[in-house]
């Protein structure tokens, strides 16, 4: 990805904004149940919500490749706002020809259970197989819930007000909301792992024991190298899934999205463990920022399909293909011009 890629440039803006305006105080306030109005307005001001909406519908007309770095930036800072969900919901609504309404949005594939940020958003894109419906979220009696990181995951009784509904185009597929959320979480995990690596390396360079920074010990160096490898693998898997979504559509990219969710989820578990080991007791405190990342990593790997869920899907697909045809299957995924002789 080149420096002047729209996605990279936007991601840098998002990163700067979050570094300045979404500190530990904001993260804690949102976890207590507050809505970060100022932060939301600032993020909206970057033009993020309509990132994936076609230009003809007033959006930025960018693709998943541009959205990926933005999602990673949101994950890197543990952004305490549903911007990723809003981008996804707007994309799904627009794909079905429904104009995305202003304000924060969310999306659900399972009929109102554990809707991300449900109580804070104005509308929810409710995906039910082949149709997407624009549903009111305000005025709904949400049963508040939260994931391990304190991010709102709220449930609503069935039968809210539906503003409009339309079929999801084939390119997005019957599982569009689930696939889009899995892609978002994989990208966020890649970002959070990069940030956890930063924190761990910084700590290893400054914390002194036995008369030297602990990062001078090979035992610590080797662990941080493993963390760097896991973070890199998660990032590559996420990038690859975004490219596949542009190339094959969300529906056609289920394989790569699943791979990204598996690899990022595995990296989340292994990476969080290493970061905590290196940070020692201070990393286990509420005061230290590490847990804002690791609790999200542990949460996001459970959401939108665990490693086990996606691995089973991939495994079944591979078994259907068969061992002998597995290699041609894998290479053809990345090569547009492949045709059977």
């Amino acid at each position: 990805m080149r420096e002047d890629d729209p996605g990279t440039m936007l991601a840098e803006q998002v990163g700067r904004l979050l570094a300045e305006r979404s500190g530990a105080a904001t993260l804690r306030a949102v976890e207590r149940g507050e809505w970060p109005a100022a932060l939301w307005e600032a993020l909206e001001g970057l033009g993020l919500p309509l990132l994936l909406v076609p230009e003809a519908m007033g959006g930025a007309g960018l693709g998943w490749r541009a959205a990926g770095p933005v999602f990673q930036a949101l994950g890197r800072h543990g952004a305490p706002a549903p911007m990723g969900e809003t981008i996804l919901a707007a994309a799904l609504l627009a794909a079905a020809g429904i104009a995305p309404p202003p304000g924060p949005l969310s999306l659900t594939a399972n009929g109102g259970e554990r809707v991300p940020w449900g109580r804070h958003v104005r509308h929810v894109a409710c995906c039910d197989g082949e149709t997407v419906a624009l549903c009111d979220a305000a005025g709904v009696t949400w049963a508040p819930g939260a994931n391990l990181a304190g991010e709102p995951r709220d449930s609503a009784p069935p039968g809210g007000v539906v503003r409009s509904a339309a079929p999801v185009p084939e390119r997005f597929g019957g599982e569009a909301a689930a696939a889009a959320l899995a892609l978002l979480r994989a990208c966020q995990m890649a970002g959070a792992l990069a940030a956890a690596l930063d924190l761990a390396v910084e700590h290893a360079g400054t914390r002194r024991q036995f008369g030297r920074p602990i990062g001078r010990f090979q035992a610590v160096q080797q662990q941080l190298a493993v963390l760097a490898g896991e973070a890199a693998a998660a990032q590559v898997a996420a990038d690859r899934a975004c490219r596949a979504a542009d190339r094959h559509g969300l529906a056609g990219a289920a394989f790569e999205i699943g791979c990204a969710k598996v690899v990022a989820g595995e990296a989340a578990g292994a990476g969080a463990a290493i970061a905590h080991q290196v940070l020692g007791a201070i990393g286990f405190t509420e005061e230290h920022p590490l847990h804002h990342l690791t609790r999200r990593l542990w949460s996001w790997r459970e959401e939108a399909g665990t490693e086990r869920f996606w691995a089973a899907r991939i495994g079944r697909e591979v078994q259907a293909v068969g061992g002998a045809a597995l290699w041609p299957f894998l290479t053809a995924r990345d090569e547009d011009d492949d045709t059977t002789p």
Partner: protein
């Protein structure tokens, strides 16, 4: 911000057609390959097969035509390599020449050295081995003691010993890193090393194959006893051996041979397994590793030097390759598996420890990554 960036890279247009050619070739040649041959991967040595690969133009693919090459792109070469590995083809007789020795000669060799050797490598006829490790010098390579001394009137005299040299007993040539000047006290330890082209038929060379734990003979102890090397055995510049030898490490470390060594076992197990979850986990990891390896190949093609990225790909690639035989044990009861799968699993289990030793140990690679992170 620390961490490394792996930009996505696609295989070039026409890759699918190239793959079909290679697959047809492999289907024809692979009929008689036993599970052990496929399990051996690029440590399988078969001169007849290498000549056949050379005849198809798949060795030295990127080299200039005047040296017997085919002037194709690095990414096309990548496509051919991964097809060979995925099939478990015995590519060992030309692998080192194609991957390391040929590119080294192209970069640092004289015109005469190139004309003499590169066409033979590209035909699959000249087999090379790498003379690095010594009895007292493994990961600490700069401590090596084999030495070459100038002989009055021209040429060099080589004395010392190399060990763990894969296929020295079957190869024609060794490219050896040796000392041509003593390391100066308090000076850089890597100074005074030079690379030599050693014709393994020369007098004074004793090659003793070492039996491996599989019962086979793959690596060797090579003793040099006053071996007379001609003047033009020196590669590149005297004293620059370390820089020359390490300049190609990114090529050596990031290739598909660092992620696909146990692929034939993965494919065979996928067929036989009942539980899809471990299969899915392995395939997800493999697809990601392949994207990382292709990314590094792309950086190399662009003329960059992604040495740290390559070390990282090798580290996690080796970990994956080594995990495959262990994961397969979760997939199915290996003891009751069909004979072919059982033999393949048994063979890969035995050779898997070498994956994270050859070409830079896991610990050395992680040290390189840690240095990039600013920790050393």
């Amino acid at each position: 911000m620390v961490g490394l960036r792996f930009e996505p890279r696609d295989t070039p247009p026409g890759s699918a057609a190239l793959r079909r050619e290679v697959r047809a070739f492999l289907a024809e040649h692979g009929r008689g390959w036993t599970p052990e041959v496929r399990g051996r991967s690029w440590m399988g040595f078969d001169r007849a097969f290498s000549r056949a690969v050379g005849a198809r133009g798949w060795i030295g693919m990127t080299w200039p035509r005047r040296y017997g090459g085919h002037e194709r792109s690095a990414m096309e070469r990548y496509v051919v390599l991964e097809e060979m590995l995925a099939a478990g083809a015995p590519v060992g007789a030309h692998w080192i020449g194609d991957r390391q020795s040929g590119p080294l000669l192209l970069r640092f060799g004289t015109e005469a050295q190139r004309m003499r050797l590169l066409p033979a490598i590209a035909r699959g006829e000249a087999a090379f081995c790498i003379g690095l490790s010594e009895p007292d010098s493994g990961s600490d390579l700069a401590s090596l003691r084999t030495r070459a001394e100038r002989v009055p009137g021209g040429g060099w005299r080589l004395n010392g010993r190399k060990i763990w040299t894969s296929f020295a007993h079957l190869c024609d040539w060794m490219i050896a890193l040796v000392r041509t000047a003593p390391a100066e006290r308090d000076g850089p330890r890597h100074a005074g090393l030079s690379q030599f082209l050693v014709d393994l038929r020369l007098p004074g060379i004793t090659i003793r194959p070492i039996r491996e734990l599989t019962g086979e003979e793959g690596f060797n102890e090579v003793t040099f006893d006053d071996v007379p090397l001609p003047e033009d055995a020196l590669i590149g510049r005297e004293g620059e051996g370390w820089a020359q030898a390490t300049s190609e490490l990114a090529f050596e470390r990031s290739g598909p041979d660092r992620i696909l060594s146990s692929y034939p076992l993965l494919a065979a197990a996928a067929e036989a397994a009942a539980d899809p979850v471990p299969i899915g986990r392995m395939v997800a990891r493999l697809a990601t590793l392949r994207a990382m390896s292709l990314s590094v190949a792309g950086m190399l093609e662009d003329g960059r030097s992604p040495a740290v990225e390559a070390a990282l790909v090798k580290d996690i690639g080796n970990a994956f390759e080594q995990a495959v035989p262990e994961r397969v044990r979760d997939l199915l009861d290996v003891a009751d598996a069909p004979e072919g799968l059982r033999r393949l699993h048994a063979y890969v289990t035995q050779v898997a420890p070498t994956f994270s030793l050859r070409g830079g140990t896991r610990e050395i690679l992680r040290g390189i990554i840690a240095r990039e992170l600013g920790l050393r």
